[in-house]
Symmetry: C2
Subunit: 95 residues, 2 copies
């Protein structure tokens, strides 16, 4: 089964016809050799959103995060509803 199939199967139907949303989903899975290995997914979460916000404007209220840990595997799923992609990287504000 391809990842396209997995995410299509996971797609939520839009509430009304005109309400289809652009959406970005990021799922990380960290498979550790031992159950006690360090889990760096929670630390990655902030960095990932920063990288993505270089390409699309992210509304913090439109971000849904779920972290799951089971034995030797952890998953981090981030779902972002997008207003619509701005393709050129956003220029950093002059600090």
């Amino acid at each position: 089964m391809s990842w396209l199939d997995v995410f299509r199967g996971n797609r939520k139907p839009p509430p009304t016809a005109g309400a289809a949303k652009e959406r970005l989903q990021i799922v990380l899975a960290h498979e550790r050799i031992s159950r006690t290995g360090e889990d760096f997914l929670p630390k990655l979460q902030k960095d990932l959103l920063e990288v993505i916000s270089k390409y699309v404007a992210i509304d913090a209220k439109a971000v849904n995060v779920s972290l799951d840990r089971g034995g030797d595997m952890s998953t981090l799923a981030i779902e972002v509803e997008l207003p619509g992609p701005k393709v050129e990287p956003r220029r950093q504000a002059a600090s």
Copy 2:
């Protein structure tokens, strides 16, 4: 079905008992409203690996990338075999 179940079902058995590898998988799915919407996943790929390499040493030869585009959805899957996580962020080399 949780993402833990999805990735467990997608797990490759190690060739020999002692050869279990630490592994990180990142899958992004971008659902566009129109089929012609811009696809920024290929541009994200390099940035994502840079972010992850802050937490674990990445061997370029141990990275497997697959990009899939189908109609209004694209997926980018990055699989990294890890030597073993170094938890504190790596100090940037003095340039």
